[in-house]
């Protein structure tokens, strides 16, 4: 099976998800890892270049990041290939590919048969990176000519964004909900996240209210996350929030309402006032991690 892995970079370095995919795909046989030169993803110029380079491949793999999914879909359309997004596993079976992927906003886990040749995006963290894996050899390709009809103009930074690990790839996440009462109280969320080395998430109630940027939203219309540890603070556990985080390995929930739905899926639930618990928990985490 001729496989092309399209690697993604941030600030020059290969993203972890690309390393994960490259490591796994090296067992598929004839595999080449490629990356488009430049650091700003451009749908037109990149999809043309990738489609041209990989048009003979049986399988094109990309990371299921926003850009990777965007690129994969357009490449699949360009080449008229089957496409499966956000897969959590993949194997060859009876001349086709069998993939596992979430459906129905993460409420269902499906096994799908994908006719080859295909384009498939793989969820970050789905294939764990064996320790000591050497970085893959990467073939650099030039993007196609820019499309004159569309040009990048500028970057507008989000006030609080960008400083932390990205939500999609984070191994720990602390999310705040309406129970935090207001944006001024996020300091305690940040302190806990710092102690855990975690990314910060939020419920939609919080992003809708403008307390936190959109990009932090977890759930059906936000990000789907699968960290080792998810800490939900003052989040009720609406079905649309759960859709985005129930596949986390361990869930800790803090809520003053003992009947909150979040407790139905929590491994450790704390019934009580988060303003009392969180600062104490931050200290306790530091103590356990020996960073105090």
């Amino acid at each position: 099976m001729k496989t092309v892995v399209v690697a993604e970079r941030t600030r020059g370095a290969l993203r972890r998800v690309s390393l994960e995919i490259a490591a796994k795909a090296s067992s598929f046989g004839d595999t080449e890892v490629i990356a488009v030169k430049g650091d700003r993803y451009s749908p037109m110029a990149w999809s043309s270049a990738v489609a041209e380079k990989a048009k003979d491949a049986d399988l094109i793999l990309v990371g299921a990041t926003p850009s990777g999914r965007d690129l994969g879909a357009r490449v699949a359309a360009k080449l008229g290939r089957a496409y499966a997004a956000d897969c959590t596993d993949l194997a060859a079976k009876d001349g086709a590919l069998e993939a596992k992927r979430p459906m129905y906003a993460g409420k269902i886990r499906a096994t799908v048969k994908v006719p080859s040749p295909a384009v498939i995006s793989i969820r970050p963290g789905a294939w764990t990176l064996p320790a000591g894996t050497a970085a893959p050899q990467v073939t650099e390709i030039d993007p196609a000519a820019d499309d004159p009809r569309i040009t990048f103009d500028r970057f507008e930074a989000t006030a609080s964004g960008g400083k932390r690990v990205s939500l999609a790839e984070a191994r720990a996440i602390v999310s705040g909900g309406r129970g935090l009462k207001g944006p001024e109280n996020w300091k305690i969320v940040e302190e806990l996240a710092d102690a855990l080395g975690a990314a910060i998430g939020a419920s939609r109630a919080v992003t809708d209210a403008g307390w936190r940027p959109n990009e932090e939203q977890v759930g059906q219309t936000g990000k789907t996350v699968t960290p080792d540890l998810y800490v939900a603070l003052g989040i009720s556990g609406a079905i649309q929030h759960l859709a985005g985080m129930t596949s986390s390995k361990v869930i800790v929930a803090v809520n003053k309402d003992p009947d909150a739905d979040i407790f139905k899926i929590a491994d450790y639930g704390v019934v009580g006032d988060l303003f009392e618990f969180v600062p104490a928990f931050t200290e306790a985490v530091k103590k356990v991690k020996g960073t105090n």
Partner: protein
């Protein structure tokens, strides 16, 4: 200025999805159907432009069974101008759905085609980029804002840490992630007006589309493993003790700390 919003009808976000009898599809008996959430944002984003400039026309289209009319009516009741139903089997391959939508766009000649970032049934995010590809137009994903500036549009794409602002000359395709405001509720007069509107139908043949693209096939569906039976602690006064207990359990029992 004309928008064409592609929308799909899916199980409502509040539906507790169950696997149907054959194990390869979800049970649909008695469930509530709605416009897919990102499509609702797309409609809202277009209507916000119409609020700013009332000469703007917002059209909506869906490809699928007659049931999809309800989603089109919902869009009309929110304030969209016209709606089209393309009759097609539910299992039409996604790339053929995109071809049908591209054919409708060629007839309507909108300045901007909007799709949702992904439909909340198949969670693919394929149709939008594919519509752009079949039209030969550029596209911008993760769209949260579209502002006209002269003869170009500023299209805001959400990325880690902020937004990239792209300048595009129409026609262009946008894949909507969020709108500025929450999607509006249909007004009562809007609902009355929507009831009276005709929804013309098209068929695939008249658009020159046949079911011919590769298709992915579901072989099995299951619910995520059920969670529950977690340890619950009550905080009565001694936050420190409970905090230390939980932190220790994360370390010794679940080994994530």
């Amino acid at each position: 200025m004309r928008f064409l919003v592609c929308l799909k009808q899916v199980p409502d976000s509040t539906v507790k999805v169950k696997v149907g009898a054959g194990g390869k599809a979800v049970a649909t008996e008695g469930i509530t159907w709605s416009m897919s959430p990102y499509d609702e944002y797309a409609v809202e984003l277009a209507l916000e432009r119409k609020d700013a400039d009332p000469t703007t026309v917002v059209s909506v289209v869906t490809v699928g069974s007659a049931r999809g009319r309800d989603a089109l009516r919902q869009a009309l009741a929110m304030g969209c101008d016209d709606a089209t139903l393309v009759n097609a089997p539910e299992d039409l391959p996604a790339l053929d759905v995109a071809k049908a939508l591209a054919a409708v766009a060629k007839e309507m000649k909108p300045d901007i085609v909007l799709c949702g970032k992904q439909a909340s049934d198949d969670d693919q995010g394929l149709v939008g980029p594919a519509v752009a590809e079949f039209l030969g137009w550029p596209h911008v994903g993760m769209l949260t804002k579209a502002v006209s500036s002269g003869d170009a549009w500023e299209l805001w794409r959400e990325v880690e840490g902020g937004h990239e602002v792209w300048k595009a000359k129409p026609p262009v395709v946008g894949l909507v992630h969020k709108s500025d405001k929450e999607p509006r509720y249909p007004s009562l007069p809007g609902i009355m007006k929507a009831k009276k509107k005709e929804i013309p139908e098209k068929d695939l043949a008249s658009l020159g589309v046949t079911a011919s693209s590769p298709k992915i096939e579901v072989v099995a569906m299951e619910l995520p493993p059920q969670r529950g039976g977690g340890k619950i602690f009550k905080l009565d006064g001694d936050a420190k003790a409970v905090a230390e207990q939980v932190a220790n359990l994360l370390h010794t029992e679940s080994k994530v700390l």
